[in-house]
C-alpha cells in the first residue's frame, strides 16, 4: 500500500512538474490548472497549520482544559471574536480593535528590528580600519571601498534640498557628486546580487530536471 501510494505520488508529482514547466511553451490551461491547484493546497495547508500549531494548542485547549489558569487568554479570545465579526458587514468597524493591537505589535517589531537588527550591526560592521598597517593593503583598500560604498549609497537617497542660496547650491553640488558615486555602488550591488542569485535558481531548475530524468525511470524498473 505504502509502495503503491509512493509510486502514484511520484507519478503525480512528475505530472505536475511537467504541467508547470509547460509554462515555458506559453501560458496554457495545463499550467493554469497546476497553478490553481498549488494556490489551493497552499491556502489549505496554511489553515491547517494555523489551527493545529497555533489556535488549538495556544488558545482553544488551554481555555478548555484549564480556564482559570489561563484566564488572560480571554483577551485574545475577545479580540479574535471581534476580528471574526468582520465577516458580517455591519460589524466591520468592530475589527478595528484587534487590528490596532496587531499594528501596535508590528510597528514596535519594525522599529526595534530597524534599530537593533539593521542600524546597529550595519553601522558597527562598517566601522572598519582603512589603515594598511592593520591588515595589509588589500584589506585596507577593500574596507575603504566598503565604507565609501555604504556612505555614498546612503547619501544617494537624500530626499530634501535647500533653497537657492549659495550654501544650498554648494551643498547641492556636493550631494550630487556623492549621489552619483552612490548610484555606482548600488549598481555593483545589483550586478553582484543578480549574478549570485543565478547560481541558486539554476540549481533549482537542475534539481527539478534531474528529478524527471532519474526518478521516473526508477519507477519503471
Amino acid at each position: 500500500m505504502s509502495d503503491l501510494s509512493n509510486l502514484i505520488g511520484i507519478w503525480v508529482s512528475a505530472l505536475l512538474t511537467v504541467m508547470v514547466l509547460s509554462y515555458l511553451l506559453g501560458d496554457n490551461p495545463l499550467y493554469r490548472l497546476a497553478e490553481h491547484l498549488f494556490v489551493g493546497t497552499a491556502v489549505g495547508y496554511a489553515v491547517l497549520v494555523a489551527y493545529y500549531s497555533l489556535l488549538r494548542p495556544r488558545l482553544i485547549l488551554p481555555l478548555l482544559q484549564a480556564p482559570l489558569e489561563n484566564w488572560t487568554l480571554v483577551v485574545p479570545l475577545l479580540l479574535a471574536l471581534l476580528l471574526l465579526a468582520r465577516l458580517n458587514h455591519s460589524w466591520r468597524g468592530a475589527g478595528m480593535a484587534p487590528l490596532a493591537f496587531l499594528l501596535g505589535v508590528g510597528i514596535a517589531l519594525a522599529i526595534g528590528g530597524a534599530l537593533f537588527g539593521s542600524i546597529l550591526p550595519q553601522v558597527e560592521g562598517t566601522m572598519l580600519s582603512v589603515n594598511p598597517a592593520d591588515g595589509g593593503w588589500g584589506v585596507a583598500v577593500g574596507n575603504l571601498m566598503l565604507v565609501i560604498g555604504t556612505v555614498s549609497a546612503l547619501a544617494y537617497f537624500y530626499f530634501t534640498g535647500q533653497g537657492d542660496t549659495t550654501w544650498g547650491r554648494l551643498r547641492g553640488g556636493f550631494l550630487k557628486a556623492w549621489r552619483g558615486l552612490g548610484k555606482w555602488f548600488i549598481m555593483v550591488t545589483f550586478g553582484a546580487i543578480f549574478a549570485s542569485t543565478v547560481m541558486s535558481r539554476l540549481s533549482l531548475l537542475i534539481g527539478r530536471l534531474q528529478f524527471l530524468i532519474t526518478e521516473i525511470p526508477k519507477t519503471l524498473r
Binding site: D27, R32, E35, H36, F38, V39, A42, V43, Y45, A46, L83, R86, R92, G95, L99, L102, L103, V105, G106, I107, L109, A110, I111, G113, A114, L115, F116, G117, I119, L120, V123, E124, T126, M127, L128, S129, V130, N131, D134, V147, T150, V151, L154, A155, F157, Y158, F159, T160, G161, Q162, G163, I186, T189, F190, G191, I193, F194, T197
Partner: protein, 258 residues
C-alpha cells in the same frame, strides 16, 4: 560617563540600548521642529521621483481602456518586521484607490499576509465610501491570494496573464518570489511600478519595473502624494538622521584606523 553607564546598567539598560534610544528620541524634536517650520512657510524642495509622477498616467490609462489596475501590497504583514513596508504599500494604495475610483478605473488589490487583508479592505471601503457617487463606481477589490509567498506570486502571475491588466503597481515586502511576478508583467507587457526594500530583490525590480521605488523611497509615499507638513518634515528628519549615521560611520572608521 562611567557613572551614567553604571546607573543605566543597574536598571537593565546597556550602552548600545541607550544609544539607540537616543537615536530614536532624536526624531521627535526634529519632527516637531521641521513640521512647525514648514507650517510657518519655510520652503523645502524634494527631489523628484519618477515613479510617483508616473502613477497618475497609469491610472489614466486604465480609466481609458477599462482594463483594471493591479496593485500588490507584497507578502509582508502587519505583525512582523516588514510592517513598515506593508504600511508604505497601504499608503500608496489609498492614493491609487482614490485616483482610480475618481476616474472610474477598476482596481484590484492583492495581499498575501492575512493580517494585511483587513487593512486593505478597510482602505478600499473608506475610499469608496467617501466617493459621492459610491453606488455608481466600483469599490476597489481587495483580496488575499495565499499566505505562502510563492503561492501568492503564482496567483499574481495568474492575474497578470489572465486579466489584461492595464498597470501593475507593487509596493511592499517582496522576497525572491518577486521575479515570478515582475517578469510575468514584462512578458504580458504590463507597465509596472515597483517598490521594494530588500537588497536581494532590488536587482530584479531594476530589471523588470518601468519605474521603481528603490529602497527607502517607498516610505516617502506620504510626502510625495498627500503632502502634509509632517510628512515632509519626516523626510527631512530622515535626511538628518542619515547625516548623523554617516558622521558616526566616518568617525568610527577614523578611530579604528588611527
Amino acid at each position: 560617563m562611567d557613572g551614567i553607564l553604571e546607573l543605566l546598567g543597574n536598571s537593565g539598560i546597556t550602552a548600545t540600548q541607550a544609544l539607540m534610544f537616543i537615536l530614536l528620541l532624536l526624531v521627535l524634536p526634529l519632527l516637531a521642529l521641521f513640521a512647525s517650520q514648514l507650517r510657518a512657510g519655510k520652503r523645502i524642495s524634494i527631489r523628484p521621483i519618477r515613479a510617483f509622477e508616473r502613477l497618475g498616467t497609469l491610472i489614466g490609462q486604465s480609466a481609458e481602456t477599462g482594463q483594471p489596475v493591479h496593485m500588490s501590497l507584497g507578502v509582508g504583514g502587519i505583525v512582523d518586521p516588514s510592517t513598515a513596508e506593508s504600511l508604505a504599500g497601504l499608503a500608496l494604495m489609498e492614493h491609487v484607490a482614490t485616483e482610480a475610483t475618481a476616474c472610474g478605473a477598476p482596481l484590484t488589490v492583492t495581499v498575501s499576509d492575512p493580517t494585511l487583508l483587513p487593512l486593505a479592505q478597510d482602505t478600499s471601503r473608506r475610499v469608496w465610501e467617501t466617493h459621492p457617487y459610491q453606488y455608481q463606481v466600483q469599490e476597489p477589490e481587495a483580496r488575499m491570494i495565499a499566505p505562502d509567498a510563492t503561492a501568492y506570486a503564482a496567483g499574481v502571475m495568474d492575474i497578470l496573464l489572465g486579466e489584461r491588466v492595464a498597470a501593475n503597481i507593487m509596493v511592499g515586502r517582496f522576497g525572491p518570489e518577486y521575479l515570478l511576478m515582475g517578469e510575468t508583467g514584462v512578458k504580458s507587457r504590463v507597465p509596472q511600478i515597483v517598490g521594494a526594500a530588500d537588497p536581494q530583490v532590488l536587482p530584479f525590480v531594476h530589471a523588470t519595473a518601468d519605474d521603481m521605488l528603490l529602497g527607502e523611497e517607498m516610505f516617502a509615499v506620504g510626502a510625495y502624494l498627500r503632502p502634509r507638513p509632517v510628512h515632509i518634515a519626516s523626510l527631512r528628519v530622515q535626511d538628518w538622521l542619515r547625516v548623523f549615521l554617516i558622521l558616526i560611520i566616518v568617525l568610527g572608521v577614523l578611530l579604528r584606523s588611527l
